[in-house]
Amino acid sequence: MAKGFLANLKGVDAFGKTTDDVKIKTRTGAFLTLVSAAIILSFTLMEFIDYRRIYTDTSLLVDRSRGEKLSMRMNVTFPRVPCYLVSVDVMDISGETQRDITHSIRKARLDSSGKEIRGSRSTSLKNEVEKYTEDQSADYCGSCYGGLEPANGCCNTCEEVRTAYINKGWSFSNPDSIEQCKKEGWADKLKEQANEGCNVVGRVRVNKVAGNIHLSPGRSFRSSSRDVYELVPYLRDDGSKHDYSHTIHELTFESQHPLSVLFGLLLISAASLYYFTSLDDDDYNFRKSRVTKEMRKRLGLDDPLKGTTRTTNKPRYMYQYFLKVVSTHFRTIDGQLLKSHQYSATHFERDIAEGGQGDTPQGVYLQHGVSGVPGVFFNFEISPILVVHTDTRQSFAHFVTSTCAIIGGVLTVASLFDSMLFATTRALKKH
């Protein structure tokens, strides 16, 4: 026998053992043993399945980000509006407006069946025009026909004359009388492109405040602090019907910290660039954006406007989308934090040709306060709430505890039951 320390420990043995010759084994006991073994196995299996399952936890926080700029990435196709009749403008409640954005937007011409016309990437007819003006003599100075002249006083191309007219507040209604346009064959080009469609792809950068982005025909200009839309080319009867039927292939919001843009441009140092880019939305990082996309699909959080198609045959038709943007963070199982945005959308459409009055679907008389412009309007506002989706899983310790509880519990209950059975058998056999 072990002496000394271990001998003293013998008294602490909590697991008293029953010697074999004292034990009584019965067949019902064996049956119960097998049944409890089966129950233990099945319960342990269920606990194991629960252990491996991934749960998604949602929590809400207040969005404390500051100084971020929101950019809306979009990809919209207009099958029946040519590219020169689509202009992208932004207005927000801080008063900032961006008119006719061209630097981050690419408009691709589509033919009438929807296929892209190769080689054309411009908003207007500039490519041919530039080629044309190169042939001009050096000191040709075209007249601006009364429009607001640019700095050098010359309007050499049709486009410049048009800009001069718009800045003066006139509509460019009759290109056939303008010399530059006749030379460029502008009217012909209009007719040629009249049957085309347009695919607008790109990114619009806005402040993180309520605002709206609209795609509407014609150039817009400010005249006495009001935005006026030049609609004449759109509404002119050039032989084909335009309308703002559209298909939204993609519409997402991302945010980018301005310092990361700044440091990216200046390339001051790799470390600071790394730090500031980590403040960006992770949709910019293509590896992370893949994880984000997969997680969104699993949670069913895909963008609601993706793939929506609306068609009409009325030229003067206005579509309005009201978007509410919510910042969202995703935290994966391995602790990675991914930042992104979600939005909810409702849409309304209106036939402007109806005039100022109408009826709601219910039959209530309705009066429009705003006259409306044909086009597609995305009105967005930012929510102060930040949503965090966390993927969690039960810990291994929890699984082990549950398994021990199951085994102990089932065995104890079965042994109680068995001893009761045994005592009952004994009692019955005695009589």
Binding site: K23, V326, T346, Y365, L366, G409
Partner: protein, 534 residues
């Protein structure tokens, strides 16, 4: 008799026959014959207590299975429908021809609800059960909300599972010259920020009429104001509230923020409604300062809330209950074991006294029949892992050693001459061998009992001279131990032939302890011996 036992055991026999005999060795539950278990009343109480405790702990799990707990989920609203309903039912204390009901939304549209959309009936102004706009109603749980939504359904609706669309009840009170106007109905509006307002003619929208300032009274009672499908019994914050105006020019502004909510109660379909929170502001103004009226300005939240009353499944309930019962029993048994071991260590392992109530069988007659029990300290003798009670209440069995076989009372009793017990002169010679080896049974012992096979005992006990008493089975504690007569005084028997009989294996009885190692000799063995015997 035999037939009865056949019937009684038939079920168990069937159970037995299910399992083939050789499988019996897989029995993992060791069952001891009840002779090896010592039972005490105190531990009986413990068992009952443990059962009650286990049941109380199970109640928590059963409650979780039946009622569950509320689980809140937030997500960005995925509902893309463009329109939603507003249910309005309020009474304004002005005739209907003086008020105009409109809605303006963020798109710029103005809905003329005075003509169509909302019905207007002349009625009497009656505050009724309304109260001043109170603190927001307490939050509804999912079961409450679903129950309230079903309250207005009748018996046949529930039976046939019809979702009856509740309608706002029509006006019952039509006085001939109505002084108040009830505005009620359900309108469909665009899901944008909007402003529903009730203004007076001439003060607000351009109108040909002008209401006399004396007739302007914007007191109102709001019976119902909710968004989404109409459930009259779900209590919303603005329901049953009223405002009384003292001035003619007053603007009541209610700012509402609407959150789409889905209630999911256990075992029922999801209920989609809207909840809103409201703050209000009353402004009294002069004639041309602003527009008097009742304004409900609401906007929608992009987050939608789901209140899900989650319950555990039946298998989880089973797992939990099984774990609880097993755990409680095992813990309690260990606790008892440890505590008794601790007590044994603390008070010394000579003898343990367990207080037990026992009927005093020594006194006969009426006392024994009707007299209650006495509580006395009984000296418990440890036998194996169990306890046997010391047999003779009358015997001053408080000495050392007699209780425990590991001690040497036997050696005392075996000791020759000085012991007063040794009355019998014949004690002499046969004792001699025993004095030297007290443990061995005496050759002269004439007791018929034969030693049981050694396998019956858990631990070796020193052999008491076995041949003392007529064969009697090992007693279990609690049995009335005063049995019979003193054993016959057998010449050559060791000293406790005079000792009270009973089934005290210490004294050596039918169980027949096998010959074992001699007991320890304690130096103090002789001292207490005088008291032991009578």
């Amino acid at each position: 008799m035999a037939t009865i036992s056949e019937e009684d055991t038939s079920i168990l026999d069937k159970l037995d026959s299910v399992v083939p005999a050789p499988l019996a060795q897989f029995d993992a539950f060791p069952k001891l014959p009840s002779t090896y278990k010592s039972r005490s009343e105190s531990r009986g109480f413990m068992t009952v207590f443990v059962c009650i405790l286990a049941f109380l702990l199970m109640l928590n799990d059963i409650g979780e299975f039946m009622f569950g707990w509320p689980d809140y989920e937030f997500s960005v609203d995925k509902d893309t429908s463009s329109f939603m309903n507003i249910n309005v039912d309020l009474v304004v204390k002005m005739p209907c021809r003086y008020i105009s009901v409109d809605l303006r939304d963020a798109i710029g549209d103005r809905l003329f609800l005075s003509g169509s959309g909302l019905k207007r009936d002349g009625t009497r102004f009656d505050v009724g059960q309304a109260t001043k706009l109170k603190e927001h109603a307490a939050m509804l749980s999912a079961t409450q909300a679903v129950a309230q939504s079903r309250k207005s359904l009748g018996f046949f609706d529930t039976l046939l599972r019809r979702n009856s669309k509740a309608e706002i009840a029509p006006t019952y009170d039509h006085p001939p010259h109505p002084s108040a106007c009830r505005v009620y109905g359900t309108i469909e509006v665009k899901k944008v920020t909007a402003n529903l307002h009730i203004t007076t003619l001439g003060h607000g929208y351009a109108s040909r009429e002008h209401v006399n300032h004396n007739l302007m009274n914007l007191s109102h009672v709001i019976t119902e104001f909710s968004f989404g499908p109409y459930f009259p019994d779900i209590v919303q914050p603005l329901d049953y509230s009223f405002e009384l105006a003292k001035d003619p020019f007053v603007a009541y502004q209610y700012f509402l923020h609407v959150v789409p909510t889905t209630y999911i109660a256990p075992r029922s379909a999801p209920l989609h409604t809207h909840q809103y929170s409201v703050t209000h502001y009353t402004r009294v103004m002069e004639h041309n300062q602003g527009t008097p009226g009742i304004f409900f300005k609401f906007d929608l939240d992009p987050m939608s809330l789901t209140i899900h009353q989650r319950t555990t499944t039946f298998t989880q309930l089973m797992i939990r209950c099984v774990g609880v019962i097993g755990g409680v029993f095992v813990c309690m048994s260990y606790a008892i074991r440890i505590s008794t071991h601790a007590v044994k260590v603390v008070t010394g392992s000579e003898e343990e006294f367990i207080v037990s109530a026992r009927s005093s069988g020594a006194k006969g007659g009426l006392r024994s029949k009707w007299g209650g029990g006495e509580i006395r300290a009984r000296k418990m003798v440890q036998q194996g892992t169990g306890w046997t009670m010391e047999s003779n209440p009358g015997s001053p069995a408080v000495g050392s050693g007699y209780g425990s076989y590991t001690n040497t009372p036997l050696s005392q009793s075996f000791s020759p001459a000085p012991s007063p017990y040794l009355g019998s002169p014949s004690f002499g010679s046969p004792m001699i061998p025993s004095s030297s080896n007290p443990g061995t049974p005496l050759p002269g012992s004439s007791f018929p009992t034969s030693p049981r096979p050694s396998s019956l005992y858990q631990s070796k006990t020193p052999s008491m001279s076995a041949g003392l008493f007529p064969g009697s089975n090992a007693a279990t504690i609690g049995s009335s131990s005063l049995s019979g007569a003193y054993p016959p005084s057998v010449p050559g028997a060791p000293s406790y032939s005079n000792f009270p009989p009973t089934p005290n294996p210490v004294n050596g009885n039918g169980n027949g302890f096998p010959a074992g190692p001699p007991p320890r000799r304690t130096p103090s063995s002789g001292s207490g011996s005088g008291k032991k015997d009578d």
